[in-house]
């Protein structure tokens, strides 16, 4: 079942540019420039891109906050802006910087209030709250006013707040931004469990690529308002030439350098007894290892998997310099 559908989705903003002492010129900028996206029920999609790429703008159009300038968008079969309040009951939203919690009241009160806001039956609400309290370890700070919570505690509260009405889709805008490592891992583990249950579709934007590696099988990369990649992480690696590295420790330096297609030496250390090779995929790592074993006595081998940050950084710069 399709949960999110967007076609030719576009959002323009007019910006005023100073062009003289008192004169302002207006310029139309497309923050989102024709996006097509289909998300099926239960999918977990990572939506990434550099600052200003249009990630948040897309999310805001999907959640009914912003009115699209053009194009079609349906979430849970509803038109987000005209049917905003109906949609709001079926989606959960965590915008890192915009709290859904009541600042001056204990966390517990916010949850109770949200039950009324979403008109959730008391037993359902209590059941979900118990679940979140256990998985997110909320008990220690349920009675603390939100303003006194640490960022990590607050984010766990926000996640709970977004889920108490049992949404079909959960939108998360930078859910791990600014969190310490422990909180990050708690949030990730929670989302992974939620995604694994399969009922909730999850779309998250992030700058933290560890989120993606840990959580999302599908990756949508946006740059300058357009989708530049939509597929699995492996496909991204394949398409943008991710390279694995092979580090070998030898008993003695090689007599002659190896010549294999697609294999280059990145660095040589310890007088030639440690060599780092970069493989572009033409020659398999195993072939390289067996060739090395013929040439010299191997002491140790390790394979370094491609780093997603690298791939994405390369992707961004490639887009920036056409």
């Amino acid at each position: 079942m399709t949960v999110i559908e967007a076609r030719g989705l576009r959002k323009e903003f007019t910006v005023r540019v100073k062009s003289g002492w008192l004169r302002r010129r207006t310029r139309v900028v497309a923050a989102v420039d024709g996006i097509a996206l289909t998300v099926e029920r239960g999918e977990m999609v990572g939506y990434i891109g550099p600052n200003g790429a249009g990630k948040s703008t897309t999310l805001k159009m999907l959640t009914g906050v912003l009115y699209p300038s053009a194009g079609l968008v349906r979430v849970c079969g509803l038109e987000p802006v005209p049917q905003r309040t109906r949609l709001a009951r079926r989606i959960g939203v965590v915008f890192g910087q915009r709290s859904q919690l009541w600042w001056d009241l204990p966390l517990r009160d916010s949850f109770a209030l949200l039950r009324h806001v979403y008109a959730v039956p008391a037993t359902e609400h209590a059941g979900r709250l118990v679940h979140c309290r256990r998985l997110l370890d909320l008990d220690a700070f349920l009675d603390v006013p939100v303003r006194q919570l640490s960022l990590g505690q607050r984010m766990r509260g926000e996640l709970t707040a977004a889920l108490l009405h049992g949404p079909e889709v959960l939108f998360l805008d930078e859910p791990t931004i600014g969190l310490d490592l422990v909180s990050k891992q708690a949030v990730r583990a929670f989302l992974a469990a939620l995604g694994a249950a399969g009922d909730t579709t999850i779309v998250l934007t992030t700058h933290d690529l560890a989120d993606i590696e840990r959580l999302c099988r599908r990756l949508v990369v946006i740059d300058q308002g357009r989708i530049v990649h939509d597929g699995s992480l492996d496909e991204l690696h394949a398409r943008y030439g991710s390279r694995r590295r092979l580090v070998v420790d030898l008993d003695e330096p090689l007599a002659a350098p190896l010549a294999l297609p697609g294999v280059t030496v990145e660095s040589t250390q310890a007088n030639g007894r440690r060599i780092t090779y970069v493989l572009d995929g033409t020659t398999a790592a195993g072939d390289l290892v067996s060739r090395l074993a013929e040439a010299a006595a191997l002491r140790d081998i390790s394979v370094l998997e491609p780093d997603i940050e690298d791939v994405v950084a390369r992707l961004y710069t490639r887009q920036a310099t056409p």
Binding site: F13, G52, S56, T57, K60, T63, G64, V65, L66, Y67, V81, R84, T85, R86, A88, R89, I91, V93, F95, G96, Q97, R98, S99, Q100, W102, W103, D104, L105, D109, L113, H116, V117, Y118, A119, P145, D173, E174
Partner: protein
């Protein structure tokens, strides 16, 4: 009712700062006192104002003050829309299954303004007793309904002017001009204003229906400007129209909401 719970939460939040609340309530009463004092001072230098005596203008002022204070209590906080738009916090209201306007009103209700409303009601009772109001059932109804209708008219102005923030964030002065300016306008008989002012504020915005026409009906006096007598009872209808127009402006504004980065 979700809104009732939102309102309760807001009152509890404000009660967290108890001393500050007490001072604010006292300050708010002071505003009400000033509304009345300005009229008293005025009549120290002139026996009549635009053809009306002190008792009549006092009644107008009390009606206007009551209406404004009520609107200020319930709707006045929409002026905080500016902060919501600037900070992007408005996003958080839009992802909930409730009206964004009603949430804004419930979530930011300024409890302290209760003081001014209470004082306004007391003044209204005094003014009605002081002016020669012959209390028929119809007039009694008029006396209770008029401040509510007036509050709706002021509320509509609050909403419509606050909505400007969707297009232009630095819009505070326009809003204040029409709302606080509106209070001053409605306190006095419209006969003292120039024709242009009257057309613009008394008729187009509907400020004449907050206090002026109802007062004429209450004291059973024909309009010196020749308006038909039934206008004294027209405030509720005008209020409905004003609320409807403000709702339209709000809807349009929300569609123009641009949010902020990230």
């Amino acid at each position: 009712m979700a809104y009732r719970h939102l309102l309760g939460a807001q009152v509890r939040s404000q009660a967290q700062y108890r001393a500050s609340l007490a001072v604010d309530v006292a300050g708010s009463v002071l505003f009400g006192v000033l509304d009345i004092v300005s009229v008293v001072v005025l009549f120290r230098v002139t026996p009549t104002l635009g053809g009306f005596g002190f008792a009549e203008v006092f009644l107008m002022t009390a009606l206007a003050s009551c209406a404004f204070a009520t609107a200020d209590l319930v709707v006045g906080n929409v002026e905080r829309l500016r902060q919501y738009v600037r900070s992007g916090l408005f996003d958080a209201l839009l992802v909930r299954p409730l009206s964004s306007l009603a949430q804004l009103m419930a979530m930011d209700v300024a409890t302290r303004r209760v003081g001014r409303v209470a004082f306004g009601v007391v003044m209204l009772v005094l003014a009605a007793a002081n002016a020669p109001v012959e209390l028929t059932p119809a007039r009694l109804a008029l006396l209770t309904v008029t401040p509510i209708a007036g509050a709706v008219i002021f509320g509509a102005v609050f909403v419509a002017t606050a909505t400007v923030a969707f297009w232009w964030i630095e819009s505070g002065e326009i809003a204040n001009g029409l709302t606080y300016g509106g209070l001053n306008f409605t306190q006095y008989p419209i006969t003292i204003y120039s024709a242009l002012f009257r057309r613009l504020f008394a008729y187009a915005v509907g400020f004449a229906f907050v206090a002026y026409y109802p007062t004429l009906a209450l004291i059973d006096r024909p309009d010196p400007l020749g308006a038909p007598a039934f206008l004294g009872y027209a405030a509720p209808a005008i209020a409905v129209m004003a609320a409807f127009a403000a709702g339209l402006v709000w809807q349009t504004g929300v569609r123009h909401y641009r949010s902020t980065g990230s």
